[in-house]
């Protein structure tokens, strides 16, 4: 590999670049400039994360000391395959959604607000990448707040189209803050017990400590992160927040925000606590049950929703159930399935929400009735939605199939509360529910007639369509080439599982 100067700072670059770029955005002239700048930033960041993934893949985990201060006092970034994959995913979604955003934002947000919008987007990106990158538990909280605060503002910007975005954002603000507070309370308890905030150090010093303080800390942290990742029944903020946010924001958040939180949960369970604590079994069982409940409950709600954005938001809650299910198995295969689904679901939901964004731009509504006969009016958008919808169900040849296959495979060899076979059948049954709500959408678009006297509309602008179809093609591409998803996820899962068995460091 060519040696670039400054490459030794690579682990920090994906966080530093957008962090520095954000303030410049706010002083730019409203209009096209902030968008171009944000796109550029996202692409550069994406390139950095790709490079980072490459380095970690071939060279093993890397460590970066902020300002040269050694752990546990200084803040260190540890990057192994798990976070490299998640960071790459987040940056990739930004790199696709940011270019897509221009026309959508132009129609949904006041021109004067556009610098603020893109600033918030970049800050949100910074926060998400930071949470994934850092190896310091308190630093996680800081980045969590950075991403959350910008997200509240972004959701509220949907108010120009629908005033309900304001209440949605407020609810999200309150709930998000509760979640973050719980997290920091839990962390405080752990700090009291161990005197350290560095994740690796925490792991070492927690070993053998099985007392009320640690237990309470654990409960607070799991609940806090559970709230942030919209685990049923803590998901109530999500459908409205995603439903009323501007389309581009929804596409970006749905593909990234909850995924990073899932990663964080995995990190805490497998790296920080490890397996020697009896209460971990409790958490895994809770994930198993709540995951299955979420899969069904949210799917049923989605079936009856008439607003496509909210339908997909509920579907996200259901899909989070799948990821929790994978984690709950407590095996390498289960964890692999979760990581694969994190990746694949990001592709699926980004494509779906981007497609809906195109419809909102041209027709001005995300109600199901607006989709009637869409195949005649916006064929490119329609077929993108159809393909990514099939991917959501898990029809080959799309990535959804890989996810379901991996999850079922993992389910077969587990010993959980619920018999493995039943779990497999439940996964199959909830896929059928996905087939129902996606089928409803497809039927409306493809087989119903457009409404009488519907005005002729143009297809979505090229920039949006290209971004949308890149996602759709990725949905098919990663079915055939699974090195990046299954390959990396398996290695990442093996490394994480290895850490609790004590084979050479947590990363």
């Amino acid at each position: 590999m060519i040696h670039f100067p400054g490459l030794e700072h690579l682990p920090a670059l994906p966080v530093i670049i957008p962090l520095i770029a954000a303030p410049f955005t706010i002083v730019m002239r409203p209009g096209r400039t902030p968008w171009l700048w944000a796109t550029l930033v996202s692409w550069v960041t994406f390139a950095c994360t790709l490079l980072l993934l490459e380095v970690v893949w071939h060279g093993g985990p890397t460590e970066y000391k902020m300002g040269g201060w050694a752990a546990p006092l200084g803040i260190t970034y540890y990057i192994d395959l798990a976070n490299a994959l998640v960071m790459m995913l987040v940056a990739a979604m930004a790199a696709v959604v940011f270019p897509y955003a221009y026309f959508s934002v132009k129609s949904e947000i006041a021109r004067a607000q556009s610098p603020a919008f893109y600033t918030a987007m970049i800050i949100c990106l910074t926060g998400l990448l930071g949470v994934a990158a850092t190896g310091d538990a308190f630093n996680v909280f800081v980045f969590l707040e950075i991403s959350s605060l910008s997200t509240y503002a972004l959701v509220a910007m949907g108010a120009r189209r629908d005033r309900r975005a304001l209440t949605a954002a407020f609810n999200y603000l309150v709930m998000g803050t509760i979640g973050a507070t719980f997290y920091v309370i839990g962390l405080g308890l752990l700090y009291q017990a161990t005197g350290t905030l560095n994740m690796l150090d925490l792991h070492e010093r927690l070993a053998g400590q099985d007392n009320k303080v640690v237990e309470a800390g654990f409960a607070f942290i799991v609940t806090g992160i559970g709230l942030k990742l919209a685990m049923v029944p803590l998901h109530l903020w999500l459908p409205n927040a995603y439903g009323f946010a501007p389309s581009a924001v929804t596409a970006f958040l749905a593909a990234t925000a909850t995924k990073v939180q899932i990663y964080l949960m995995v990190r805490f369970i497998y790296t920080v606590f490890g397996f020697e604590f009896p209460f971990l079994e409790v958490a895994l069982n809770a994930f198993l049950i709540l995951g299955i409940v979420g899969m069904f409950y949210a799917s049923f709600v989605a079936v009856f929703r008439d607003n496509v954005k909210q339908m997909l938001a509920y579907s996200s809650v259901a899909q989070i159930g799948y990821m929790l299910l994978g984690i709950s198995f407590g095996t390498v295969d289960g964890l692999t399935a979760s990581f694969v689904h994190i990746f694949n679901h990001a592709l699926i939901k980004a494509a779906l929400f981007m497609g809906v964004g195109c419809v909102v731009l041209r027709i001005g509504s995300s109600q199901l009735t607006a989709f009637r006969g869409l195949a005649r009016r916006m064929p490119w958008t329609t077929w993108a939605l159809v393909l990514s919808g099939l991917s959501l169900i898990g029809v080959p040849p799309t990535v959804g199939f890989i996810s379901k296959f991996k999850l079922m495979e993992a389910a077969f060899q587990t010993t959980t509360l619920i018999p493995p076979l039943l779990v497999v059948l439940l996964i199959g049954a909830s896929s059928l529910l996905a087939a129902v709500y996606v089928g409803r959408l497809i039927y409306t678009m493809v087989l119903e007639q457009p409404p009488e006297n519907a005005p002729a509309i143009k297809e979505a602008p090229h920039a949006m369509r290209v971004a949308l179809w890149i996602m759709v093609i990725a949905n098919i591409y990663f079915f055939f080439f699974t090195d990046l998803t299954v390959g990396v996820a398996t290695q990442a899962a093996e490394a994480l599982m290895c850490s609790q068995a004590g084979c050479g460091g947590a990363y």
């Binding site: 407020f170 609810n171 309150v174 709930m175 509760i178 979640g179 719980f182 009320k212 237990e215 309470a216 654990f218 409960a219 607070f220 799991v222 609940t223 559970g226 709230l227 029944p233 803590l234 109530l236 903020w237 459908p239 409205n240 009896p278 209460f279 079994e281 409790v282 958490a283 809770a286 409950y297 049923f300 709600v301 079936v303 009856f304 929703r305 008439d306 509920y314 029809v395 080959p396 040849p397 890989i402 296959f405 079922m408 495979e409 077969f412 060899q413 076979l421 497999v424 059948l425 199959g428 049954a429 896929s431 059928l432 087939a435 089928g439 039927y443 087989l447 055939f480 699974t482 299954v486």
Partner: protein
Amino acid sequence: MPELLNPGVIFTLGAFVTLFLAAGLRRYFMLAVIAFSATVTWQMDLGNYGNLQLFGETLTVTRYDVLSRLFVVVFHIAAALNVIYGWHIKDRVENFSALAYPGAAMGGVLAGDWLTLFVWWEMAAITSVFLVLGPRSRSTYMAAMRYLAIQIASGVLLLAGIVLVYRESGSLMFEALALRNEAGDLNFGPLLVFIAFGIKSAFPLLHNWVQDSYPKASITGTIMLSVFTTKLAVYALARGFAGTGELIWLGAFMTLFPIFFALIENDLKKVLCYSINNQVGFMVVGIGVGTATAVNGAVGYAFGNIIFESLLFMSLGAAIYRTGTSKATELGGIYRTMPLTMTLCVVGALSISAFPGTLGFVTKGLIIDGVAEEHLMLIWLILLFASAGVLEHAGIKIPFFTFFAHDSGKRPKEAPPQMLIAMGIGAVLCIGIGLYPDPLYALLPYQDQIAGYHPYTSYHLIEQFQLLLFAVLAFVVLQKTGWYPAEVPSVNLDFDWLYRVPGRAFLGWVITSVAAIWHLVWDNLVRFMEAVARGLHHTHGPEGALSRTWPIGFMALFTAIVLGIMLIVTFLI
């Protein structure tokens, strides 16, 4: 890429191209695709092609051997006949399905591993649902959704079965499975696969989707549906479960029960749909017996059935096309103006009744001989009885009530030329292969057994003629004495009339009680599902407790509850 190019792929790619072609151009293109695919198949040697590497497993996209060859050949013929018959069809969706659906079926037949089979299995479900949706009314929409749900359920079961089989054997190759282990217990993985196949081949009690959905499609759609889905399942059974004893009884039952329903059914389209069940039953018996002769018979009969069943559907379709109805009560007497269609229909009817000199005779005999060779006396008798039943409902009822019977007063024009051409080709195949079966026999999988087989021996002829003559006699007697279930618009049995004829009384009792039980079960099931859906809508619908937007205090309360539970549980453990 040429490695991956098999008929399934060619048809599927072609189907997507048709979406972008002008309506007038599409039909020529479709014929060209079929011709091209036939040429590719013709030049292909037996063997495995198209190995794909997918997450560490080798997939075999094309396995072209003696068993799959026969199905690929007949699917080509059927697809071509459909395109010719539907030359006037300009509907984009139907044109798409006319290629994609046979393509999916052929892909499934050629699949050398479970995963490829699964993909095409689902493709066949998805591409065919557009045919059921064809007329796009509310009732077809509901029927199509039911159809899709059942087909997808079959796919899900198949996938679950595949995963289990894969876990156990470590191989994804699509080979024969053992339904029971040495101790005689059921193996769970193969059982799931078996049920998945069973749904598609319409096993008894899993059969209802056929009568539910097929008649709702357009005329051409029904013809297409009647060919592919069940025959793909027959192929899969022959490949995976040949010689499985359970199939003999299942198949024998399948040959019997549709006869009763078909006799009293007024909608002739539905009569033919019941006949699909009955015909597949014969094949299932052959597969269950599993000897070389019987399997030869099963797949040979599948070949024959595709031709003559389509011929019957096509001739009935022509009558429907001209008169606009498929009710026995509203048809009749139209032989005067549609003599050609009538003649072709009679050829199909003779063939399905296995009249000597037709395709049915030279293939069905193999199955019955296969059963006889194994000394399965009871099954043999059931098959003979069922053969007589076929003659009653498909061989006589269809042509008689469509073209003769009471004069409906309708004087439609003769069928359009494209339909006559397609039916003509079908009829020529029926009689041609019937008289000179060697080309078909050369395609059968077990060549050693077929070498010494001669359909036209005096024993076969006498057996068949006795059967046919008595069945015809029965029909004539029943018809003349007025005891044959009259063409009435509803299922309506006159009990006074049944008392006088004890034999028929028993038959009537069987019919009514089976129908009553079935209706009871089905109605309760439907009512239950409706209640469930209402309940779900009540709780999960937009205004339901579980999905409305909760005040923020409640959200916080939930969080507190979850935290509390987490704390209590971690403290207690």
